[in-house]
Amino acid sequence: MKRVKLVRNIWMKAAALVGLVMCVQTSMAAAQSPAKLKGDFGPPQGEPIHAVLTSPPNVPPAIHRKYPAKVIVDLEVVEKEMAISEGVKYMFWTFGGTVPGSFIRVRQGDTVEFHLKNNPNNKMPHNIDLHGVTGPGGGAASSFTAPGHESQFTFKALNEGIYVYHCATAPVGMHIANGMYGLILVEPPEGLSPVDHEYYVMQGDFYTSGKYREKGVQPFDMDKAIDERPTYVLFNGAEGSLTGDKALTAKTDEKIRLFVGNGGPNLVSSFHVIGAIFDKVRYEGGTHFQENVQTTLIPSGGAVMVEYKTKVPGSYVLVDHSIFRAFNKGALAIMKVDGPMKKDIYSGKELDSVYLGDRAQPNMASVSKATQAAASGTLTLQDQINAGRELFAGTCSVCHQANGAGLPGVFPPLAQSDFLNSDLHRAVGIPLHGLSGKVTVNGKEYESVMPPMSQLNDDEIANILTYVLNSWDNKGGRVDAAEVKAERARTVPAPAAGH
């Protein structure tokens, strides 16, 4: 017995020594080390499982599994043209046909067998870098895939948290700018705390050759991308993807968990929900949380988990609080909360909420109808008025007010305005070129600055003016797009030389 023990002891020492030498010689030895890494719960058990992937804003159901499994993820890259805004098309490159890409949910310790498929009709090669992967490139080098091909690689999800994935094929920035990003959630073994709703929201910045809301197919603009001057900053890849009928929904007294990512490629997000305070934020999906947060920073290529309880019914606006992005580049979404009023917590009317509400639920159908009618030559006066009303509410009513009365001493009235009615031609030029300096309207002097509304196209300006002329006892009339076009083309005469 003793001798056996001794021999074994010597053996073990020798083995340890060899092991040590191997360790020193090559890091490969680590792979054979019996000591488990944090988050490694051993080899996968049971039958392989096909991961449920969901399109935004949906999140796959919670995992209630008690053991590590082999999880197979099938993700297809699809290049497809989709609307980025009303009447504006863009060629997106997508993981799973949506921007952001399909949401992936696995359990910490799972062995993930990843299949990346590049649709045969795609033009470009693609790959995937998952920030939840431990290994060089996050899988990028192992998943570089030509159109019509498929790559496979396997990783163990060691760290829990919410992670961005994205394409890392050259030119990397362009692949990301075209929408190639999404989120993967690695759930802790005990799962996340139960909530009533989980939603998936991801911000991204987009660079088009045309201006914001300029109609038609808009190509990618590399110069703007390099200069970090986005045309659009969006939640879930399109203006209106989370507003109107597509708004996120909840009832009062429900627990909400938002998985909010930022694909970039350039901007960091100051994520904020107007009228809500986040009860908990897990910055970057980390283990510790912060409480009572108003605005949380989401870096490009990062993500957070946000939790809050709905208390007061109403429409809550999700914004990037770098606020021009919200109201001039599209970074705006809505969560609509239904339930009985709670006057003890909140009662009364907020001035801003009218503005936000108007923008929040655009009924742009009449605008599309007018655009189509104009194209086919069947545009009626009523079409123009209907479209103009919607556009006026979104663009002009902030200053001139919904009833056209303006604000005394600040914004001139449009209703029964002598300034407007006396010179229609001049009126066409104002939205195009802006107006500053002293003007007298209905006997009162105004001196403020209206910037050029350069985001509006000829049709839109014609419709707005037609609506204004036919509202609030103005004298009526009709402006057509050709008139606006002519005025736009006319160069503004240079001011007289002062010397």
Binding site: K123, M124, G137, A140, P147, H149, P171
Partner: protein
């Protein structure tokens, strides 16, 4: 002055018929000998830098490049003459399962296909075709040199409209088959360098932007034979970079719905 000095077709017909020496010579091809355009030698700054050579301009010797990409009709003649390259006979080593999958049958491209560029062909098949035409695949530098031209200039790479035209094609998916070959010739008299198909080059697997292009400066890159060509000299020239990226993603047996080829010939008086 456009150097439109297309080589006399007869030169090649003669070469072919006299060429019992040529290993896979095939005089049937001579019946409709394709036009090759002589490209004058020159130097240019390649999109792929060459750090081992201080990023100096690349010299391209005089050579001849096919006026248009190889069409389905032309490829059919080749397959008929060399049936081992039919899609039902080709060994898997030389082409993947999608090889010529757009053809109606292994020996019929189908209606309307004859003048469209052949696509879904492997590098091996493209190389064999060019050999049968007493030619070879162009090198990347040769291809890039000719592709830098617009209609009026030999190097239009700073021309925003030239770039926009290339990107327009990238911005469309390929659900519909490619258009027919032909159309406007570039400065050299070569057609369809952009806007129709991706094209194989002889040294596609030496371009090697690595599979993860962000590893610039990684010491590991020297493991690879194309290490000298990894970093990109002009990052703004991404239109060309995207073509390099596509070629880098491929293996010799791969085929894709957008990938065709054209052949080149070394000219006798090239140094």
């Amino acid at each position: 002055m456009k150097p439109r000095c297309a080589i006399s077709r007869w030169t090649w017909v003669l070469a072919c018929c006299a060429g019992a020496l040529a290993p896979i010579g095939n005089c049937a091809a001579a019946e409709r000998a394709p036009a090759y355009i002589a490209i004058p030698s020159g130097s240019f700054a390649s999109t792929l830098s060459n750090p081992s050579d201080n990023n100096s301009p690349v010299r391209v010797e005089r050579f001849a490049l096919r006026e248009t990409p190889v069409t389905n009709g032309e490829f059919l003649s080749f397959v008929n003459a060399h049936p081992e390259w039919r899609r039902d006979r080709i060994p898997a080593t030389f082409a993947d399962a999608s090889y010529l999958h757009h053809w109606a049958s292994p020996s019929t491209p189908g209606p309307g296909q004859d003048d469209r560029p052949v696509i879904s062909v492997s590098w091996f098949a493209a190389q064999a075709y060019c050999e049968a035409e007493q030619a070879r695949l162009p090198t990347w530098y040769e291809w890039e040199y000719v592709a830098a031209a617009s209609k009026t200039s030999p190097d239009a790479r700073r021309d925003a409209s030239w770039r926009a035209e290339i990107l327009r094609w990238y911005g469309r998916t390929s659900e519909a088959p490619p258009a027919t070959v032909g159309g406007t010739a570039n400065f050299y008299g070569v057609k369809n360098m952009h806007g129709l198909v991706w094209e194989w080059v002889d040294d596609f697997n030496a371009l090697l932007i690595s599979a993860d292009s962000r590893n610039q400066g990684d010491p590991d890159k020297l493991k690879f034979c194309g290490a000298g060509a990894i970093s990109l000299q002009d990052r703004e020239n991404y239109a060309v970079l995207m073509r390099v990226a596509l070629l880098s993603s491929l293996q010799g047996a791969d085929t894709t719905n957008n990938l065709g080829f054209r052949c080149a010939r070394t000219l006798p008086d090239a140094k």
